[in-house]
Symmetry: C2
Subunit: 362 residues, 2 copies
């Protein structure tokens, strides 16, 4: 679809919400919207797409109550702002939109969380990504390094970039709006998404990308939507295996889960953002003892997070029940950079080749 057609569609979908309110009022009905409940309990596995999405539970916001009426008022101001932005072909950050609401009197947002949630509501109602409304998040900065070539449609023309040959050592910086990206071709065997910058640089220094035909993607901790979308796009276009290499603690398993199954916050976008075929490399609890890695005792928060994962539908598999159970038994965790205790080459010469073979990737 052309950019103009996409913009027109976004405008139409946004206005459809307001039109529905108009029709309700004309018909003598108090205007309302209905949205899925956004909690862990309302995540449901979608067999077709193999991702976790919101389930059947819905909550109704009707202008019967003053609180919900105010919510609808804010939503109509936001729709008006986004409509104008689409007409003028402008864009803005979520933060800027929060500030713009300063001029909306009663509809002014009191915290950015509130405006962010409202945008997520609009995504659910329109089934479009916020990028379609020309809204972007604050920060990004995830990077890609490896044998893959892409085209980016920028405001200054189309740039064609090879993510090994045309970039510095920090790699290609993923833009806010990855819908402007097209992956052209590659000479890779698989993608490895990496939690920490230290490990990303280690694989690059050790020439792991060249030796094994790996595309390195730096997740920068909990990955931004744009990073997850890039992994999804690469997988969809080239059918390359996607692997995820993180620290060995409950917070890192959530990083993997958000890449593979979608996140609780953006479950309405799972089909676009998640890559159910993504495989977890490690650090697995079993690796900690198998490789005798330096470790730390699990904190109380870690234990609670692991237990909470046992009730998270995304982790309801034999593999994860075993790993999480094992970690609760041994009571320790390790970071991915802990392999350095066995030498700087150990991770690329021993651990990754062995583990990736075991997983069937190499």
């Amino acid at each position: 679809m052309s950019k103009e057609a996409l913009d027109a569609q976004a405008r139409q979908e946004l206005l459809r919400i307001a039109e529905a309110w108009y029709d309700q009022m004309v018909g003598g009905v108090v205007p309302s919207i209905s949205l899925p409940t956004r909690t862990k309990q309302n995540l449901a596995f979608d067999e077709t797409s193999e991702v976790w999405k919101y389930g059947e539970r819905e909550s109704l916001r009707s202008a019967h109550s003053a609180k919900s009426a105010l919510h609808l008022l804010k939503m109509s101001y936001v729709i008006g702002f986004l409509k104008q932005q689409l007409i003028e072909n402008r864009s803005s950050t979520l933060r800027e939109m929060y500030y713009i609401s300063e001029g909306w009197k009663k509809a002014k947002f009191h915290a950015q969380d509130e405006s962010n949630l409202l945008i997520e509501d609009l995504e659910i109602l329109t089934m479009l990504q916020r990028e379609a409304f020309h809204l972007r998040p604050e920060e990004d900065g995830a990077t890609v390094f490896g044998p893959i070539r892409l085209k980016e449609m920028t405001r200054r023309g189309v740039k064609e970039i090879h993510c090994q040959e045309d970039v510095g050592e920090a790699g290609y910086a993923i833009p806010n709006n990855v819908e402007n990206l097209e992956f052209v071709d590659h000479d890779a065997k698989f993608v490895i998404a990496i939690e920490t910058g230290g490990m990303y640089a280690r694989l690059q220094e050790n020439g792991f990308d060249e030796e094994y035909g790996a595309v390195l993607v730096h997740l920068k901790g909990q990955p931004a939507r744009s990073t997850r979308r890039v992994l999804h796009m690469i997988h969809e276009k080239f059918k390359l295996p996607i692997t995820v290499f993180t620290d060995g603690d409950p917070w890192s398993y959530r990083i993997y889960a958000s890449v593979a199954y979608g996140s609780i916050k953006s479950a309405h976008m799972s089909e676009l953002l998640a890559t159910p075929q993504a495989q977890f490399i490690g650090v697995q609890p079993s690796d900690i003892s198998d490789y005798d890695l330096p470790s730390d005792t699990l904190s109380e928060r870690d234990v609670l997070a692991l237990k909470s994962e046992l009730s998270d539908p995304r982790f309801d598999t034999e593999y994860w029940r075993y790993q999480i159970g094992r970690q609760l038994e041994i009571g320790i965790k390790s970071e991915q950079q802990a392999f350095a205790a066995r030498g700087l080459d150990y991770v690329t010469k021993e651990y990754l080749p062995a583990r990736l073979s075991e997983m069937g990737v190499l």
Copy 2:
């Protein structure tokens, strides 16, 4: 100096420390090292370089006490590790070095802060940057967008990159080791270093870089050493004015101070990292009322931070005493993206041109 000569120098300087201990012991003296005290109270202005460095106060660590003896033991292990790393032309992250110490028995580090501080000690003793020891920090991800061309000496050959033409919208990602960068030429009038990603994207979307010949540098909050070094290098090579645009709160003034005057933690590197000619754009406390910006009340922590700045030698100027005093009076703060309340173009069409003219940059 060639890379080989630099590596040889680093090795020599590191071994010199161990040689001094050897000589002390041979001479019947208990080995020791002397280092400047690293506190705000021991910052002194260096008239020649116009940056803040550590002053005269020193603290002695002598192997007379078990605690200091252990410190010297750790230092000798680190020196041995770095010597080997330089010989093998390898590099590692600060985190990896912390893990490598696992094998050092009594000399094992118990937290990464401890190993990081020891590396800073070695920087002070050798008068070299940690990059000379082939040590790199974890993360980076700051970016540059604008009419400037550079060469990066990577492990895969020299890459020549124009930071507008050869990059995507996210810009050129600054690598960990910026000593491998050479700035080639430019078509710019000044550099604007920006705290938030939202404002960085705003200036780019509004074409501010093209209209005013500005090189945009995204600081990503408190800037990494590599980012400050890049600003210093651009200023040194091309004599371009460096300006800093941040939020209007005490934490952001520290961002400016670390760019302009050096940071308390790395005052031993101020001559390489600081750019005393860097000018603060804002958000100034006076801008908040002049532009009627959306604002928040100063928190208790903010007030304490402002008061602490009044006793920070880096802020001991008429300008800063006035601005900080004014902010304590009005009791509010504003973010740079708050200009969005006046429209998405306001910051590039009104505020920045007016303020940069007033500063003599435009």
